[in-house]
């Protein structure tokens, strides 16, 4: 999931960008959001061919009941059809399904959803050839048996999640606990995250601790950001023993056009004998002034791996 960078949490350019509220009456709301992204892409690599890719093809359904002035019940059911669109369909298209209760600025939710660690990261790449950060690399950024707490405390945001072990059940994914905290002041956004992940008993006995810190600064002419994350496994030969950092910068070339450049470097434990991998990218996004939820974009990227050609993509996105 794309992370919310400091500047990305700012209002969209005006026009007709608006979420679709389908029904609203007596404290009940039903909203639909969508995100459709299609791109022509040639991945960075050795003699790759371009193809049409979908990232994302999502339909998100949200309902909420205002139980009183400070309490709300909510639920979300999100579908993603990206794999089906690319003929890679296997299993359900259901991406998220959860219910929760919100008490003022604090909410508790249960079900299939992303974990708190998924909030971490500052990358501005549209399509990364490497993992976005170590949390994504470990691969436990969502679960089927998640209990999650979110708290908006003035300038501080806290999220904590726990994926139940669910041993012996079909939803068994392992057991992991995530914590994410962020704060923002004077144009500076700071974030920190931690995850303790235990592999599903049926799959093995690996345990990985991952932690990360991030910072993003709105300098007016540009937003500058960086993050560092590290994962340590109890198994010395695991590829989860690595650290990674991201640098990103985003400029507003015009009121409708953003340019982003960045790099990420992943370093593996010496014991693994794997080379460090550095990836570079640059992209441009144009939002139509009359309909800013419609955008077109292009990106080039490359890594320093041997026998890797530069990759590129160009695409279009509609959000509502």
């Amino acid at each position: 999931m794309r992370k919310v960078m400091l500047a990305a949490a700012v209002a969209m350019a005006s026009g007709s960008a608006s979420a679709a509220t389908i029904y609203e009456d007596g404290g009940f709301q039903y909203k639909v959001n969508g995100d459709i992204q299609v791109q022509l892409r040639q991945k960075a690599g050795d003699d790759n061919n371009p193809d049409i890719e979908f990232d994302d093809v999502e339909l998100k359904n949200y309902v909420s009941y205002d139980l009183n002035d400070s309490m709300k019940a909510f639920g979300r059911v999100d579908f993603g059809f990206k794999d089906a669109a690319e003929d890679k369909q296997s299993g359900s298209s259901l991406e998220e399904a959860y219910l929760g209760m919100a008490f003022g600025s604090t909410s508790v939710s249960f079900g299939k959803m992303d974990t708190a660690g998924d909030e971490f990261g500052v990358t501005e790449a549209i399509e990364a050839n490497t993992d976005e950060d170590r949390f994504d690399a470990v691969g436990a950024t969502s679960g089927d048996d998640v209990v999650r707490l979110d708290a908006d405390l003035d300038a501080l945001y806290l999220a904590a999640s726990y994926e139940l072990e669910s041993e012996g059940n079909s939803s068994e994914n392992g057991e992991y606990f995530d914590l994410f905290v962020s704060t923002e002041f004077s144009g500076l956004a700071l974030g920190a995250a931690f995850q303790n992940w235990d592999e599903a008993v049926s799959s093995g006995d690996e345990s990985v601790d991952t932690w990360g810190v991030s910072a993003a600064y709105d300098a007016g002419f540009a937003t500058l950001a960086m993050d560092y994350s590290e994962s340590d496994s109890n198994i010395d030969t695991s590829a989860n023993n690595a650290d990674q950092y991201n640098l990103a910068a985003k400029f507003a070339a015009a009121s409708t056009t953003d340019i982003a450049v960045g790099m990420t470097e992943t370093s593996y434990d010496a014991l693994l004998g794997l080379d460090d991998v550095t990836e570079y990218y640059a992209n441009v996004t144009y939002k139509f002034p009359s309909y800013s939820n419609v955008s077109v974009f292009a990106e080039i990227s490359d890594t320093d791996e041997d026998n890797v050609d530069m990759g590129y993509l160009a695409g279009m996105r509609v959000k509502f």
């Binding site: 949490a9 209002a11 005006s14 007709s16 960008a17 979420a19 999220a159 509502f320």
Partner: protein
Amino acid sequence: MAVTLLIPVAVLADVSLRLGDGVRVIAVNGDMATARLEAGADNALEVGNGKTQLVVEYSAEVRGTAGGEFLETSDTHVLLFEAHETSLALKAPDIDSQHEMDDFNRSRQWRLVDHRGRAIEYAIDVLEKKGFQLGRNHGQELAAFNRTDSPAAYSAAAEVAATEVAAKEIAATEESDAAALESVNAADQATAESDDSRSLADQAMIERMLKYWYQQASQVTRNNFKSWIETSH
């Protein structure tokens, strides 16, 4: 005393309203055709002096109740304010979470300030439609809203009626002035040189009165007035 009406031909400046990012204007004084405008530092909405009623929404990408990022839009608000010959800015507060958007819907705390950063008073209410929201007819909803006693309700017809009453009063004044003009001018002839300074003071007062009533006039009345100037002078 000379009571000669000087008709100002120059058009007075209107109100320039700059919209913040994410602010969408659906209607201006009931007019929806000209309301779809861009926000941004270089774009401003030009409205006439006097009362202005806006139907507005605010959209932003926000953090969801349980994480993630989603496009969220505020309730549809009706905002009524009064301003004369100034530049204003209309913004919503910084909102980056669903919780903050819910707070904004409850508080309706828009930021309407002039070019010096001073807050401008406004009346505000929600343009509410219960049930299915697809295919909302904001024009019909606003017309019904303006028939209520909401502080943000604005009736252009009532404004025109008030202006017509004022125009009739001015016309009656003009008639009595015209009838007295002959005798006044005859008296002025004898004392014209010594009364120059007093005549200028009268004209200054008349000019102020004309500017005042022009600012109170609706766009329709102004257009009629300008046409009268062009055809009769």
